[in-house]
């Protein structure tokens, strides 16, 4: 709008001032009284008077600055990945309070005998018979039962507390285990099995020959990763925390480093899980708009703003290249057909008819899908895309140019070129083609909008410009995920608005140009 105003000032105010003084000097029919504008200036004047066209022009200029200069200014690269540090609660260990009996015994203590023994325990019987053999069950302590055969020999025990060795690979024999369990049930003590003396304190810690041997408890605590060894202190603290019923606790390890853990009971498997917050470096996906990323980041963790800039560049460059190819073909073929007429015209126009009839979108989809299958590299794809769009896009313009030239060549100036003996090439390209430039410019401007739409539609389907290259179409592609559609508006709305604005601007400018070029236009 500002440009509009300025122009009025220049055009209206200055000539008026001149006219006041000029009127006295020049006679009424003096040519100098009338300000003569060249045809180009007339067109420009008419164009700038059209507010919508000027608006479109302004939008286009902004788009060009945004895409071409923005891409240079932005601190990020087109496919630069961003990371963020994420704290994830990762499962570290699990603890289970053993409520089931565990069994240990000789070879005679088979699984069936164990089951029968459990039945006897539960029904408070002191003997049971299995496979014509009598077994005797006796309670040694709470949750500790022994099973013996007729001869009174110990063949197995059922217990609940679990022995955790201090060193890996240590295990307890049946007799030793029984004694250990007894000691645990009695709250510690000293006991001797097989010549070895063990000492157990009230918490279940066992020492043998003054050395830490292991400990016993009803909780079974295991690390998730096999290479993590859980220290005694850690396990004890976990048990204490479970009994205290807390949700999180801090454990200070041997080196004095504090670690935070979360404790949660999982009813499904009757287990406590201990999770630790671990620092993880993840792609900064779908982060909300912020100072660093005005439009947030996309699903790959790339800056959407930068992608939009490069996407605009891709869309505009593709649009121009395609229109250049299409216009070149159309000018040459349309010009030849219109100028020569006759069978040449007939042949070329039939080719135009055929190309006009080829459904372009299906062809583009099929070729795109085939390139998908052949895994054509993204850059080559882009070049193919431009070529195909260009080759499919010329027939309409060729028809228009041919019609114009057909009428132009009958005019006197063409007879004059013939009379002066100019070559065909000069006659067509220097005298005819310049006369169809206005129509061509209008058609190219409108065509640019259309091409950008086609390209973005294909990219949206994933058949046009592909990752890692950005295009407004493939940025919006994320919307196929309903979650993105609903929650990450900052990704796809800006791309859509830019696309709509650009196509709209090209159409408005094209419209304005058409009106401006039209001498019959009244305003």
């Amino acid at each position: 709008m500002a440009e509009d105003k300025n122009l009025h000032n220049v055009e209206d105010v200055n000539p008026d001032k001149e006219n006041v003084s000029a009127q006295e000097e020049y006679s009424l029919n003096d040519d100098r009284r009338v300000k003569v504008l060249s045809p180009g200036a007339m067109v420009a004047k008419r164009f700038f008077r059209n507010r919508t066209a000027v608006f479109g022009m302004a939008v286009l200029i902004i788009m060009f600055i945004f895409s071409f200069i923005g891409g240079l200014i932005t601190p990020y690269g087109e496919s630069e990945l961003f990371y963020r540090v994420d704290y994830q609660q990762k499962e570290y260990a699990s603890a289970i309070e053993n409520k089931e009996y565990r069994y240990k015994g000789t070879a005679d203590f088979s699984a069936i005998v164990q089951a029968q023994m459990l039945l006897a325990i539960n029904s408070h019987k002191d003997s049971f018979t299995w496979d014509k053999i009598n077994y005797y069950v006796a309670q040694e302590a709470d949750n500790l039962y022994r099973c013996s055969n007729e001869a009174g020999e110990l063949i197995g025990i059922a217990y609940k507390a679990i022995f955790n060795p201090a060193k890996q690979g240590t295990s307890l024999e049946l007799d030793a285990l029984l004694e250990t369990q007894k000691a645990y049930a009695n709250g510690g003590g000293t006991y001797t099995v097989g010549g070895e003396t063990y000492v157990m304190d009230a918490e279940g810690n066992i020492t043998k020959d003054g050395e830490d041997f292991g400990y016993i408890s009803v909780y079974n605590i295991q690390a998730l990763m096999s290479d993590v060894f859980l220290s005694r202190e850690f396990k004890e603290q976990v048990i204490a925390e479970i009994e205290a019923g807390v949700d999180d606790f801090v454990f200070t390890d041997v080196d004095g480093v504090e670690h935070e853990y979360k404790l949660a009971f999982v009813p499904a498997n009757n287990r406590y899980t201990i999770t630790q917050a671990t620092e993880t470096r993840v792609y900064d996906r779908y982060s909300a708009p912020s100072k660093e990323h005005p439009f947030g980041t996309d699903k790959n963790g790339m800056d959407v703003m930068t992608r939009l800039m490069y996407g605009g560049r891709v869309s505009l460059v593709i649009g121009f290249v395609v229109e250049f190819i299409a216009t070149a073909i159309a000018l040459i073929l349309g010009g030849i057909a219109g100028y020569f007429g006759g069978w040449v015209d007939n042949l070329i126009m039939r080719i135009v008819d055929i190309f006009y009839c080829i459904p372009s979108m299906p062809i583009l989809i099929i070729i795109g899908a085939a390139m998908d299958n052949a895994s054509v590299p993204p850059k080559t794809r882009m070049i193919y895309l431009m070529l195909i769009l260009g080759v499919l896009g010329w027939p309409g313009l060729a028809r228009l140019i041919r019609g114009q030239i057909l009428s132009l060549r009958e005019q006197e100036f063409m007879t004059a070129t013939e009379a002066t003996g100019l070559s065909y090439r000069r006659r067509i390209f220097q005298h005819l083609i310049p006369n169809v430039v206005p129509q061509t410019i209008v058609s190219v401007t409108m065509g640019l909008g259309g091409t950008i739409l086609t390209e973005s539609s294909l990219s949206f389907l994933g058949l046009g410009v592909r990752f890692p290259f950005a295009s407004w179409g493939n940025i919006i592609n994320d919307v196929n995920d309903t979650y993105v559609l609903q929650h990450y508006l900052f990704i796809w709305i800006p791309a859509g608005v830019l696309l709509l604005a650009t196509v709209l601007a090209f159409n408005l400018v094209g419209d304005g140009l058409r009106d401006a070029f039209d001498p019959k236009m009244k305003r």
């Binding site: 009839c357 080829i358 459904p359 099929i366 919006i476 919307v479 796809w492 859509g496 696309l499 090209f506």
Partner: protein, 330 residues
């Protein structure tokens, strides 16, 4: 007589054009490096104790009739196509024509209904814009029209879904029937389908109304600048009479032509709209067939589309001659 000869000539020309279009499409489809058959052969060759990829390729090519050269293959296809046999679809494993008959109905009704709405909305708006040229209303209508023309279909659909399916849960995101469709009676089923077609039809109306509105406006302007309108005004006729009787009737000529030209397009389906709303119409099925490299179905669809375009042009030209007595066919 003259008209008949003109029509006959145009039809003949259309047939020739169609022939070459089909030939070009066929050549492109056959020349593409990877296609459906290669994929199937690759999948089959990886199965245990299977034949090699080359053997599978040879066998499958023979089965699908792809072992002939391009030109020979094309004439075989053409010979069958003329008799109405477009072969079996590879993707859907039924005859192409059968699949077409299944899915054309919904596409046709969708396009037809949206077309009616388009005309009902575009004609009055176009006339108002022309009547009040350079007024605020005219600018508003023109800009809306040009904005509709510039709307990327996929973006429009995403916006509509966001507003009418998520923010206001009035419609389902995709599909043509609801989840309790099977329990509904005949009337309920009809309503359910109609409900699911609302958004697709709105989309179709919005994306195609712009050009129609501009077309109406341009033609109305042309008529309003004609001498007979000046005469009518000079006679002292009321503005209403001038517009409704003298001007509107004359704009009907290009409009009827335009309408005739767009009638065949009703059978073409809407590729984007149907695909994004998962409406099982011709556009949806052909998109998936084309994506999979299903040559028979794609050949049929593209030839059919080309035929529709040719028919549209022909119909427009003929109608123009029929409706406007001033036109002398040369």
């Amino acid at each position: 007589m003259n008209t008949l000869r003109f029509v006959a000539k145009r039809i003949l020309l259309s047939v020739v054009i169609l022939f070459f279009v089909a030939l070009i499409i066929y050549t492109i489809m056959r020349c593409l490096p990877t296609s459906y058959i290669e994929n199937v052969a690759r999948a089959k060759a990886t199965q245990p104790n299977s034949k090699s990829y080359e053997e599978w390729m040879a066998q499958l090519s023979a089965t699908y009739g792809m072992d002939k050269g391009i030109i020979a293959g094309f004439f075989i296809w053409l010979g069958q196509a003329i008799r109405g046999n477009f072969g079996d679809s590879w993707q859907y494993t039924v005859p192409v024509i059968q699949k077409f008959k299944e899915c054309i109905g919904i596409s046709f009704w969708m396009s037809a209904i949206s077309m009616i709405f388009e005309w009902l909305i575009a004609i009055p708006l176009g006339i108002i814009a022309a009547k009040k040229q350079y007024s605020r209303t005219d600018y508003a209508i023109s800009i809306v029209a040009i904005a509709c023309m510039s709307l990327p279909t996929f973006f429009l659909i995403a916006l509509l879904k966001l507003v009418f399916c998520i923010k206001l849960p009035w419609f389902d995101l995709i599909g043509v029937v609801g989840r309790n469709y099977a329990q509904l009676d005949a009337w309920g089923r009809f309503l359910d389908r109609a409900h699911h077609l609302v958004l697709p039809i709105v989309t179709l109306v919005l994306i195609s109304i712009g050009s129609l509105m501009r077309y109406v406006r341009t033609n109305m302007l042309e008529v309003l600048n004609a001498d007979y309108i000046r005469t009518a005004r000079a006679k002292g006729l009321s503005e209403r009479k001038v517009i409704n009787k003298h001007a509107f009737r004359n704009t009907l000529i290009p409009l009827v032509t335009f309408l005739g030209g767009s009638l065949p397009g009703l059978f073409g389906g809407a590729l984007f709209t149907e695909t994004m709303y998962s409406i099982p119409g011709i556009g949806y099925y052909s998109y998936h067939a084309m994506y999979a490299g299903d040559i028979p179905f794609s050949m049929f669809y593209m030839t059919f589309t080309a035929l529709l375009a040719l028919m549209g042009n022909l119909l427009a030209d003929v109608l123009y001659a029929v409706v406007d007595p001033r036109v002398r066919v040369s």
